[in-house]
């Protein structure tokens, strides 16, 4: 998948002009209202958010030790742990496991990490067919698109688009079949994917959590696709990054209690599945091999630093559900795997602020994201930290730096500032007094393209104040 974050402004413009997308976005992410209701129904919700934040902070502060404990438990349960520093290493490990299993098709539960490392394209290039099974992920896979939201990846599509895609791809089905309703579309997807589930040689899932106490990987879904992915094939591969670690099952309960509520307003997702090792000798079903690929890909360098707090993210999607910018442009405009406020903080960390710099800049710092984050990540603060990094490295556009320098010269000299503002006020007033506003203003076209600019009142407050006293 190509990275287009540097073209964020173009992406955003295209998104705003895309009537189909705007219709889909305005249908609304009803998640906002549902989260509010779910939180209201649980008196302990705010205290649980604090506890969730504390569990994540504690784990990150002791990550090396919890990872050691986890490793011991996974191995004792008959699982095989593989470490990967980079995306390339992770892909190679997974390919190796698939080759040893003579895999032709691989079913996939939803995993953002697989997107991050470009796994699907890589497997295809190596003659292995990956099949996305999360319905939203399947819908975008057949369109060769990236997900546009971390928990509702196909939120940007309407049912006509889905129907067109199904007719194009499911060529073995009768051409005259009715696909008018979401229910019939779902039934068709269920049938097509059921066959894939049963035929797959390897199943790859992500992990919402890795539990150190028991060597367990946890996935959270509503569809049950993750379960079919990991139960039916003979090999189950879990792909997860190091910050997914959680100490104990009791810690998992706390995180689960804030996860679904923050994401969709459900008290619990339909399926929360704990997997530990391969099938046991007596088990009549389940995979005979269980592999966990633990990936770093830059996370270890973030620990203890300015951006460490983003490692608490549990991928609920609340921040983007509440973000006015995300709701205006959708997820694709962000140009990579992670959209919305958490994407604005994580993307520059993973791909560099030189490529991902637009994301933390395209924020009003309205603070809604931080307000709803279940693990209280200070997202606006970290976006501002990225802006400071850019400024230090002279990565901000020259016009911005120049403008700031000019303004700062005056602001640091209040007497001179008073003179300059008195002049500006007078000039703008003279030009604007008859109508009270400007429809066009030479240095402010960004503003006046879409809005009128009100004219000042002729003399500054401070000048008038000093005249009166």
């Amino acid at each position: 998948m190509t990275l287009t974050s540097p073209q964020f402004k173009d992406n955003a413009r295209a998104a705003l002009a895309d009537a189909q997308l705007q219709r889909a976005l305005s249908k609304g992410l009803g998640f906002v209202e549902r989260r509010r209701l779910a939180a209201e129904r649980l008196p302990e919700f705010e205290a649980l958010r604090d506890a969730a934040r504390d569990i994540k902070n504690h784990t990150l502060a002791h990550l090396d030790l919890y990872l050691e404990a986890y490793e011991a438990r996974v191995t004792a349960a008959g699982g095989k742990l593989h470490y990967a520093v980079t995306a390339e290493e992770a892909r190679a490990i997974i390919l190796d496991i698939c080759r040893k299993a003579s895999a032709r098709t691989v079913t996939k539960g939803k995993t953002m990490i697989a997107e991050e490392i470009g796994l699907n394209d890589f497997l295809e290039q190596n003659g292995i067919q990956p099949v996305e099974t999360d319905l939203g992920e399947y819908l975008i896979q057949i369109r060769h698109e990236m997900p546009s939201h971390i928990i509702a990846p196909a939120i940007h599509l309407n049912k006509d688009q889905v129907e067109a895609d199904f007719r194009r791809v499911h060529t073995h089905l009768p051409k005259d079949r009715n696909l008018d309703e979401p229910a019939t579309l779902l039934a068709e997807a269920r049938g097509v994917l059921r066959e894939r589930f049963l035929a797959a040689d390897v199943g790859i899932t992500g992990a919402n959590f890795l539990v150190a106490e028991t060597g367990t990987s946890i996935i959270v879904t509503n569809e049950g696709n993750g379960d079919l992915t990991q139960t039916l094939p003979k090999v189950h591969i879990v792909l997860a990054t190091i910050e997914k670690l959680v100490p104990t099952l009791e810690d998992v309960s706390t995180l689960l209690r804030v996860l679904a509520r923050s994401a969709t307003g459900q008290d619990m997702s339909v399926y929360t599945t704990l997997s530990t090792g391969p099938r046991r000798p007596d088990d009549p079903d389940g995979p005979s091999e269980y592999h966990v690929v633990i990936l770093d890909n830059g996370r270890s360098s973030m620990l203890g630093g300015e951006f460490a707090d983003i490692l608490r993210c549990i991928r609920c999607g609340a921040c983007m559900n509440y973000c006015p910018v995300f709701n205006a442009i959708g997820g694709h405009a962000y140009g990579w795997v992670y959209p919305g406020p958490m994407g604005a903080v994580l993307t520059p960390a993973l791909i560099g602020v030189d490529k991902g710099g637009h994301l933390p800049n395209a924020s009003m710092f309205c603070g809604r994201c931080e307000e709803v984050c279940p693990v209280r990540i200070p997202l606006p603060r970290m976006m501002r930290s990225w802006r400071a990094r850019e400024f230090e490295r002279h990565l901000s556009p020259a016009t911005v730096r120049g403008g700031l320098k000019f303004w700062a010269f005056f602001a640091k000299r209040p007497a001179l500032y008073g003179v300059a503002t008195a002049l500006a006020s007078r000039v703008l007033w003279l030009f604007g007094r008859s109508s009270g506003r400007f429809r066009r203003l030479p240095f402010a076209t960004g503003w006046t393209r879409h809005r009128d600019f009100s004219a000042p009142q002729g003399a500054t407050f401070q000048a008038q104040w000093r005249r009166r006293k």
Partner: protein
């Protein structure tokens, strides 16, 4: 009633200073009526534009300037949640780890208040004797809401204004799309957001829009006017001070001789 002799330094904000001094005079009247003595030391800017652009050095210089200028006052009052938030929340952050400035910034932050909440929460003002004939709707600026804890206070005071009907704005707590430099850096996205806000305002049927931050007000006013909607936009202080008879934001002055 205010304790006698409370000296307030008014941090007027660069937008009010340059674009709409009437708000500053309304703030002074409200504070004086509540028993404060108000002074306006020579000032420029709280430094928020530099801070949000990542220029920490300039933000710190301006913060030091503001702190030194306003430290002598009992209270620092700001007719803006945004600039108030910069002082109260972000000044201590700016001087994190600085043994000299951090304590000063902390002490300074705790005596800095947004105007309306200062009147209600510190001075105990519960009723305003102003009149305003019309239906007003109120927009919560993001910083007022999330940094300065201002939500019920302006509504409470507006409820006591004779003749004024308050129409609640749906999604009042959703950003208007101003965001300081955001609106000129990403104008198309800002426009999409302010369009929604302007539609929501128009849909209330109110003839007046009020808020506590001039940036938001200018942004929404500009959109309302560009889309031909007739809603008078004012800072809430103007109505509460009974000084809402001058031109609203973006409206011309009545014809008269040059000042």
């Amino acid at each position: 009633m205010a304790p006698p002799g409370k000296r307030v330094g008014l941090l007027v904000t660069c937008l009010v200073d340059l674009m709409r001094p009437a708000v500053g005079f309304a703030a002074v009247k409200l504070l004086e009526d509540a028993g404060c003595t108000v002074e306006v030391p020579r000032q420029s800017c709280c430094g928020q534009p530099a801070f949000n652009s990542g220029d920490r050095a300039t933000a710190r210089s301006l913060a030091e300037q503001v702190i030194a200028t306003f430290e002598p006052y009992d209270y620092v009052v700001v007719p803006s949640g945004s600039c108030g938030g910069q002082v109260r929340v972000h000044y201590p952050e700016l001087f994190h780890g600085d043994p000299n400035w951090h304590p000063r910034a902390e002490r300074f932050a705790v005596k800095t208040y947004e105007l309306i909440s200062f009147l209600t929460d510190v001075l105990g003002v519960s009723k305003i004797s102003a009149r305003y004939a019309g239906t007003a709707t109120y927009h919560d600026s993001c910083s007022s809401l999330r940094e300065m804890d201002v939500r019920a206070q302006p509504r409470r005071l507006l409820a006591g204004v004779e003749g004024l009907t308050l129409a609640e704005l749906p999604d009042a707590d959703v950003c208007c799309g101003f965001g300081g430099t955001f609106c000129v850096k990403y104008p198309d996205i800002s426009n999409a957001i302010v369009t929604k806000k302007a539609e929501a305002v128009a849909a209330t049927g109110a003839d007046t829009l009020l808020a506590g931050d001039l940036g938001c007000l200018m942004n929404i006013a500009g959109k309302l006017q560009r889309s031909g909607r007739r809603v008078a936009v004012r800072h809430v202080a103007e109505v509460l001070a009974g000084m809402a008879d001058g031109p609203a934001i973006g409206e011309p002055e009545p014809k008269r001789a040059a000042p």
